[in-house]
Amino acid sequence: MPTVTITVNGKAVTREVEARTLLVQFLRDQLNLTGTHVGCDTSQCGACVVHVDGEAVKSCTTLAVQADGAAVTTIEGLADGTTLHPMQEAFREHHGLQCGFCTPGMIMTAVDFAKTNKNPTEDEIRHALEGNICRCTGYHNIVKAVAAGTAAMNG
């Protein structure tokens, strides 16, 4: 069985994993970081999005072994201690979540998007969220939250 060393939310962890273990399974089952969710089996819903070396990645379509040596940030690692990340604040302020299941992946996608799109249009935000499905909100308030969070991150 291969051994991986991944820095997760700033802390290096080393574990033995079956080669077929997905990154999302590693995070949820081995590290008990259950904030990253599994919502589909075809890599479309985005509930599993984390950052791998700073980029939004679908952890359901990444093997744990592929992340060996990388730095992974999950939703649990976004806040700075008790201070929420501005994107997290924006989701609460603008009611960008209802059941919360898609929310971690949605926020992680949004944070990566906001780094390289400092003043997006509504269309650009909607297009950027194509890989994240929400069944509750109709996206209206998610778009507002992402716009506000992006402004707060870059302002």
Partner: protein, 790 residues
């Protein structure tokens, strides 16, 4: 304090912190010591006889704890899954109720039907072992299409249901009278409408964990349920045959339900049974492919709808004939959805004096069909509002004008419809006017011309919906077949230092009750909202409740909370009066403060609460403590109503429909949190747009394979499929509940398909069926081209 956090305020949600930081506790996040994992082997055939299930090789595989089959479940005398609503057909006979075992015994009846369950140390080991189970099937020709199910030579899904007919039901004006009106009417519009089958697809797949404590003979079930007490009742009374106090059901954070998580399914049944049988916790989580095959589907009607009018466009009669698909087995609520939740809404917002509706429900070799957001009311609104707009086109009358000619006037309430229900309050013309302003209806002609100049087709469509929700007056639903009452419970429990538990029988799986229910209590009892903790989802912590569906939580659950608040205030008066050495009759109460009238003596609720638990200076004879329970049974349904106006622009070269504007004005009565209410409307519209434009569960009619079995093939609405919405509200308070609220959770999904399809029809000049995919729209435009004027 009260104004910012009380009833009517757009309070930011208390529950959000855990969701935005990844600290939510959904059922798959729960792991119990010593747990084993369950994986279901499912039928690849739509219909087949099971000759043999050979588990010998699989049982030897690594990590396998047990493999259980239909024979095992029968041997343990575990009851089948039930349908809890006894529907009586036309001649008074009850609906056909074929058996529904949790694991199939002699036949599989749809692709995905359970054949065996492997329980192993890890999920991967369970899946590997499942592949080694050898099932000897004799495949049978399936019946898939609901119309074909009624054909004389159709395969019979169940021997107990000859002709695949579950029931033949009617409601409303006697058919002969309606037929006579049609025969004599000046105008007559007919539509053949398909209400396409949908897969609810909440983002969290279903999951369950069963656990048995042999020391206390108690079972524990974590389940993604919208109604944990109802699940407990069904599992105990009908399936496991154990007393209710021996099963605790916990529905923790649940990631969306939309109806699909109301029902008692095979999987949680098996998890609980297997946990007791094997002496280990058993955990199961659906993957998305399983969800497509086994979560109850929604809608799936075929309807011939007709409207008769006089020479001035006054509606005289409606005649509706529907075939509704039940799927292969009856799900828990299934019989009520295409009948009482459908037929009773066919008067719409109109004074149509005669309405007759006939519904035949059929079995097919497909996934079971049951309630999905709106549950019968989207189907009704689709019939009514498509007919009305077709009538407007036929008469060459403006669709808003035709509606106004036929609306129930504001002074006519309570208004008795010809289909049982009496609407309590509303102002439909006013709401329509507000919606037209919001949609800038007056400017449409200019926008249409501008689109045409760019070679695009622009259309606008209305949907004036009304629905019946706030389920439900128990005696009424009991008289029409419900198996349980539809009241709700609340318990308000003060702690000595002033914080409050609000234990509710409702359940929140996205609706924000931890905030809105706290707003109510904070407002009425004067407790700071941070000190109000709403507890839901655990049958051991909250009183018996009926759960969340049918847009009932605020209207019924919130009303129970109001009643409990009343009782708290009453008891508090006695304590406060004693503390202030005054008579109870001299006391006034205002948002958590008891005052002696005409003086400046006052005592806050916090002091009353402390005194109740530290009763040193206390009314003699009065029990200590400050906690009250209330159960609320509504006296009527509530009737939210509104108007949605959709505007689309269609590219004739690609058939792609872009929604360029969406205006919704809804009357939900009083509103506790407008931010949350708007969010419910947004989400409902998205699901309705999904139905009308993108979604549709498709089976191959020959093989019965579910072709739309994943997000690859089933088109879920994404952010770039939808616009931002313009949402407004009007308010005619509900006259019969203490909050004056009507409920809002399903209205968006009820209104929207008709609005969108009316807009598309307006744009392209011809009727098409949902979903209005680019291909369908393009073909319709092509077919219509030679005759179409510029």
């Amino acid at each position: 304090m009260t104004a910012q956090t009380g009833i009517g305020a757009a309070v930011r949600r208390k529950e959000d912190f855990r969701f935005i930081t990844g600290a939510g506790r959904y059922t798959d996040d729960i792991n119990r010591p010593g747990q084993a994992h369950a994986y279901f082997l499912r039928s690849p055939h739509a219909f087949a006889k099971i000759n043999k299930v050979d588990t010998a090789a699989a049982a030897k595989m690594p990590g396998v704890v047990a493999i259980l089959t239909g024979a095992d479940i029968q041997a343990d005398k575990i009851g089948g899954l039930i349908c809890g609503w006894v529907l009586k057909g036309k001649s008074g006979e009850p609906h056909k109720a074929p058996p529904h075992p949790a694991i199939a015994l002699d036949h599989v009846r749809h692709v995905g039907d359970q054949v065996a369950v492997v329980i192993a140390e890890t999920l991967a080991q369970a899946k590997d072992a499942a592949e080694a189970i050898v099932v000897d099937y004799t495949p049978l020709a399936p019946v898939i299409d609901l119309r074909q199910a009624l054909a004389a030579d159709a395969p019979q899904v169940h021997p107990e249901a000859p002709g695949n007919l579950c029931y033949d039901w009617e409601i409303g004006t006697p058919k002969a009278d309606v037929d006579a009106t049609f025969a004599a009417a000046a105008h007559h519009v007919t539509l053949d409408l398909v209400n396409n089958r949908l897969v609810p697809n909440p983002m969290e797949p279903r999951a369950a964990v069963g656990e048995y404590d042999r020391g206390t003979d108690e079972l524990l079930c974590y389940s993604t349920s919208q109604n944990p007490h109802v699940l407990r009742l069904i599992l105990c009374a009908f399936i496991l045959g154990i007393p209710e106090h021996k099963l605790r059901v916990i529905a923790p954070d649940v990631g969306g339900g939309f109806g699909s998580k109301i029902f008692c399914y095979a999987e949680e049944t098996v998890c609980v049974w297997a946990a007791r049988k094997l002496g280990r916790p058993v955990k199961w989580t659906s993957d998305r492919s399983e969800a497509f095959m086994t979560d109850a589907h929604g809608r799936d009607h075929v309807t011939k709808a007709e409207l008769a009018m006089d020479a001035n466009g006054k509606f005289l009669a409606m005649r509706v004939d529907t075939i509704a698909n039940m799927g292969a087995y009856l799900s828990t609520f299934a019989t009520a959805v295409p009948t009482y939740l459908y037929g009773l809404l066919l008067a719409g917002q109109y004074t149509t004096p005669q309405v007759h509706c006939n519904v035949r429900a059929v079995f097919t070799n497909t996934t079971a069909v049951d309630a999905y957001r709106g549950a019968g009311r989207p189907e009704a609104t689709y019939v009514v509002e498509r007919l009305v707009e077709a009538a407007a086109r036929h008469l060459k009358v403006d669709p808003a004008e035709l509606r106004k000619r036929n609306f129930v006037p504001p002074d006519a309430f309570p208004y008795q419809t010809p289909v049982v229900v009496a609407y309590d309050s509303g102002n439909y013309a006013h709401t329509l006017d507000e919606a037209m302003k919001l949609a800038d209806y007056a400017g449409f002609a200019a926008r249409k011309a501008e689109s045409a100049a760019r070679g695009k087709k622009r259309g606008i469509g209305f949907s004036a919906y009304i629905e019946a929700c706030g389920l439900a007056p128990s005696a009424v639903v009991g008289s029409i077949g419900a198996g349980v009452g539809q009241w709700e419970s609340a318990q308000i429990r003060f702690n000595a230092t002033g914080s409050v538990f609000v234990n509710t029988g409702s359940h929140s799986h996205g609706q924000g009750h931890e905030t809105t229910f706290a707003q109510i209590v904070s407002d009425r009892l004067g407790v700071p909202i941070e000190q109000v903790e709403v507890v839901h989802g655990d049958t051991s912590r909250v009183p018996m409740g009926m759960g969340t569906y049918g847009s009932r939580s605020l209207a019924v659950g919130g009303s129970a909370i109001m009643k409990a608040c009343d009782k708290i205030i009453e008891k508090g008066k006695k304590i406060a009066a004693h503390l202030m050495e005054a008579s109870v009759d001299d006391l006034e109460y205002d948002h958590g403060v008891y005052k002696v009238a005409g003086t400046d003596k006052s005592v806050p609720m916090a002091q009353v609460a402390f005194t109740a638990y530290v009763p040193f200076n206390y009314p003699p004879g009065l029990e200590p403590g400050l906690e009250e329970s209330a159960f609320y049974d509504p006296s009527n349904f509530t009737y939210p109503a509104g108007v949605h106006i959709a505007e689309v622009e269609i590219d004739p070269d690609t058939g792609i429909t872009t929604i360029v504007n969406w205006a919704a004005v809804d009357d939900f009565g009083n509103v506790v949190n407008p931010m949350i209410v708007e969010g419910q409307v947004h989400g409902g519209i998205a699901q309705g747009v999904g139905q009308a434009l993108l979604e549709g569960a498709v089976y191959d009619t020959q093989s019965g394979q579910l072709l739309t079995g994943s997000f690859m093939d089933y088109c879920m609405p994404r952010a770039d499929d939808l616009p931002s919405f313009k949402v407004g509200m009007t308010h005619t308070p509900c006259p019969h509940n203490p909050l004056g609220v009507k409920g809002c959770g399903e209205a968006g999904a009820i209104a929207s398909p008709a609005a969108l399809m009316n807009a598309i029809t307006d744009a392209i000049g011809t009727e098409i069926q949902m979903p209005a995919t680019p291909e369908k729209v393009w073909r319709a435009i092509q077919a219509n081209s030679p005759a179409k004027a510029a």
